[in-house]
Symmetry: C2
């Protein structure tokens, strides 16, 4: 969780995880952000910026907007700030804040943006309500989320699907929802947003796209699943042999005759 107390962010705060988040952001920037951009002069709230993996893209694509990026973790905020400064962006200010008790008056922002945040929150519907409050009437919210249940691949593999299922189950136990992408439309609608539109963004990977084989299937997705190995084995959610077979089968999809599919969802609504 980028906006939750440290112990509940399922992927942890390690160096390897930071690298994974940055790899992911680089690989997916075009797919997820080619249509992210805010006009000069407007005030944008980035909720749950984490280590700033998306913040640089956001800032670069909206150079004239005033961006406020918040997160619960001081450590992450420090990293995000360093990253944004290093990229030469001067239009972002950082602040430690909780989505569920935002320190901003009603109507403080023209737009709200959040990416890979709702999936980690115990009550995403309430979070959307809190974010709606700080929007001006007519302001927009943009939420990008993954959906681990959208993953399928060739060759298909039961143990690989089971390993992914473990990640989904662990995230659910921690109060999150790794299948939230498919749910963005009803979540945004129920939170009172109007003209909700959701657009799926599929990452399709085959041998003709080696940068995605490396940057997505291996470094982003499989690395993420591998990240929960210790917890899965400690709790006996899978046997070590099955787990290892599952991970091996995920890497197997990176061979020249393998394919891999995963879908992100980008939802937009208006206050």
């Amino acid at each position: 969780m980028k906006t939750g107390p440290d112990h509940t962010y399922i992927h942890g705060y390690s160096r390897r995880e930071a690298d994974r988040l940055l790899d992911q952001a680089r690989t997916l920037a075009g797919l997820l952000h080619h249509d992210t951009g805010y006009p000069p002069g407007c005030r944008v709230l980035e909720a749950g910026c984490g280590i700033g993996a998306q913040t640089v893209t956001l800032a670069e694509k909206s150079p004239g907007a005033a961006i406020t990026s918040i997160d619960l973790s001081e450590t992450s905020l420090g990293e995000a700030e360093a990253r944004v400064r290093a990229a030469g962006c001067t239009n972002v200010s950082f602040r430690r804040a909780d989505i569920f008790s935002l320190p901003f008056p009603d109507g403080s922002f023209d737009h709200v943006f959040l990416c890979f945040v709702l999936e980690h929150l115990p009550d995403p519907a309430r979070a959307l309500g809190c974010l709606r409050r700080v929007l001006v009437p007519g302001g927009t919210i943009t939420a990008i989320e993954g959906d681990h249940g959208s993953a399928f691949f060739h060759p298909d593999s039961g143990p690989a699907r089971q390993a992914i299922g473990c990640l989904v189950a662990l995230q659910r136990e921690k109060g999150g929802n790794a299948l939230i992408g498919r749910e963005l439309y009803p979540l945004l609608s129920r939170a009172g947003f109007r003209e909700v539109s959701v657009s799926p963004r599929m990452v399709y990977v085959d041998a003709s796209r080696p940068e995605l084989v490396e940057g997505f299937t291996k470094q982003t997705f499989t690395a993420m699943v591998e990240g929960v190995e210790e917890e899965v084995l400690q709790r006996g959610m899978m046997s070590r042999a099955d787990w290892e077979e599952g991970i091996r089968d995920l890497y197997r999809t990176c061979e020249p005759d393998g394919t891999f599919c995963y879908t992100f969802f980008k939802g937009r609504g208006q206050k």
Copy 2:
């Protein structure tokens, strides 16, 4: 199967199935065929035209091309011909033929097109080899396939996933592969085609797209799953109660807070 002996086409040849195929074709024409088109003067083989659900679109989008549409079933060919004539297309000729023993000399066609055919064939790799033979060097093949394992939805439902699994299992028993979409890239590559490129086409359905709720989730996908009910229950693949719950849950995704995702794949290669 559009090109197999009648008894192996898993969806059958009923009136209801014909209506389903036509609904599907109308609903998906833009998604699947916006980039289907062949220049005037070229010779196109449509392999496995069935009742001509795609043939009219193909003919209308390539008015100057000479299209030869083949199928194993005389009955289907008759229907396809009537449909194409009714649409006023004069650039299609029909012929009864088997993909695995094509009655055409090498290099008879500039392009080959097939849609929802490979999934029903016992040896799709060999079929692609047979089709490659009748292409001129530099000619292209275009294959469109679904992938039932790509379906996911909100609310998620175990019985619904199990019901879809029954369709996949039955199709596999009949020698087909309902998960073939994800496999197009290696299939085309292994058959010797060059510059293979595969593009996924996701149908994403939520309440803001009522024509897809009706035309895709209900009339195309759920109707297709319901089509194997008798066989599933006769063989005890699921209990009647579980089956009915699964079907009910698929319809449940058509409610205002439901969503539905399914991915088709369009592959292209060159001889």
